[in-house]
Symmetry: C2
Subunit: 362 residues, 2 copies
Amino acid sequence: MTVGVLGAGQLGRMLALAGYPLGLDFLFLDREPGTPSHQVAPSLFGSFTDPALLDEIASRSEVVTFDWENVPAEALERLAQRTRIAPPPLALATAQDRLLEKELFARLKVPTNRNRAVDSLADLRRAAAEIGLPGVLKTRRLGYDGKGQQVIRGDKDIESAWQALGNSPLLYEAMVPFDYEVSAIGVRSRSGEFRMYPLNRNLHQGGILRLTRAPWKSAALEAAARRTLKRVMEHFDYVGVLAIEFFVQRGRLLANEMAPRVHNSGHWTIEGAITSQFENHLRAICGMPLGDTAARGHSGMLNLIGAMPQREWLLGQAGLHLHDYGKSPRPGRKLGHVTFVETTARAADLRANRLLRRIESL
Amino acid sequence: MTVGVLGAGQLGRMLALAGYPLGLDFLFLDREPGTPSHQVAPSLFGSFTDPALLDEIASRSEVVTFDWENVPAEALERLAQRTRIAPPPLALATAQDRLLEKELFARLKVPTNRNRAVDSLADLRRAAAEIGLPGVLKTRRLGYDGKGQQVIRGDKDIESAWQALGNSPLLYEAMVPFDYEVSAIGVRSRSGEFRMYPLNRNLHQGGILRLTRAPWKSAALEAAARRTLKRVMEHFDYVGVLAIEFFVQRGRLLANEMAPRVHNSGHWTIEGAITSQFENHLRAICGMPLGDTAARGHSGMLNLIGAMPQREWLLGQAGLHLHDYGKSPRPGRKLGHVTFVETTARAADLRANRLLRRIESL
């Protein structure tokens, strides 16, 4: 069985590496060669909206998925007439637009921060007055890793934020004074079977995920996250892996955003769970039974960002698993990650903090 | 860094899947397309002795290794003049010839069964008389998975065994009434660092490995196996993974044969050890620090031979990891394997036996 994948980044690469042992073959489509997945699987190159390329990937794949959130909706529409697509295109379209996402959360009664669509400077002034300051102005589309965002702390920031982002449809959100961030990752099969991984606690730096610790033990938060994940997945009749990021505010979850795909905060599942998020995404979209999502021990995952720490040092650390995405270094770019699994939560916390300090000094 | 691999079977495939996360690239050479490694990495096709192909793989690879024991010695000689090769060609040449292997064991004082070279029917009669019956007549070269062997139980079998195999150089060995079989897998780095995985207990059926359980706890056997592995590896100034199969006879180890490569009885290390044998082979031959060889729990590995059991059933078993090699079915052919990890040895033994019975009935 061949799985077509739109986007050939590190997520696609890890999907292929998880899928080969299941006997799957892969075919990627991306804009240019040299991408992380291209190094490990056959790939087509060109525009995501090129009908000939889309028809080729459709005719050669039993199911098509995506490793990138900004795949154009028209590409999926054309594919949907020719082959099976999972996760559902409507989930992707919703995740691509922060306003649709917030409207979904409201409709499903998922708590989230207050927000308002902004299409003019006057809108922005009204939103800031109504929702209050500080707040964050975000582009509705194409934002990731902190890009396309302006923090508005006082009235004086309103005009410059508008200058920076005003040529796109926008959303103004209350800035949430959160205690910490968690994410929940679930998988749902074609027949509606649902499983969730243990909760992840995440640390972002400069808008980019730096560190994940899992399982993050909190029965109350996990139960709340499970209800939300399940509700969102059932709404879409979802098939595959879905992640939702939450702020934790005085013991309550506030949904921040969702990702209709395998997620950076779930990379620890490769070594730290019985079945990785990558394998479970493939099991789901290929109509196979889901795998066990239980944790093996207490994991930590650190992203390697911008420059690769000395490989010799990383590989010399007992039990540290390197995942090099084969990308060339660039400031702010995710080049790889490392994972470790400890037998206790305390040992994992200590190791995560030590490693974070050490990697920052390398 | 690019690793060249001669032979593109399932061992090469699992090497590539373990090597991509280390940031390695691969280039395979095999006789024809459609091999398991070819599905996951760039490959060259043609004769192993084609100078142009060998020169291409040498010029594109920082180090060349092999996934197949019968790579012609002349191929390695040509490569050795052009790039780095690991493991050492002399170890491969020794493993390719049962007589050289037995002579090595004798020289290094590694206990093995009694044996004698056979080049004529008269030699065979003398060997049978001297060593005794029953015995096994084996081709010195190109035997694997029980092929190229004839059991001689009585004088009446001598002539038919000679008829079957007599056109190759042969070895006659005492048939050892062993209690069970174990194998030891070690890895040695360029700087001489040595690590050994926990011992494997193996069950063969029809000359083919069927089941491995690890760790097989026996401090005395493990210490003896470690001494032997270390001695053999130091003899060759070995770099990479080496496996030695042993018969256990009244608590003593008798070396049966060695494999200068990753080994089927070490496949459990993918899920069941901190660092897999595949990753450690690559770390060693690429000059990286070795990874931890400790076990994570108690593993069982079953080969899937001849026909693939129903995938739906396999994937529906909690915590069962499928490794499909992407090969077409054929009687006696290894098509894949499954691994599980349990928390106690007893649970792993029970599960292995249950699974063995079930897979045979599928």
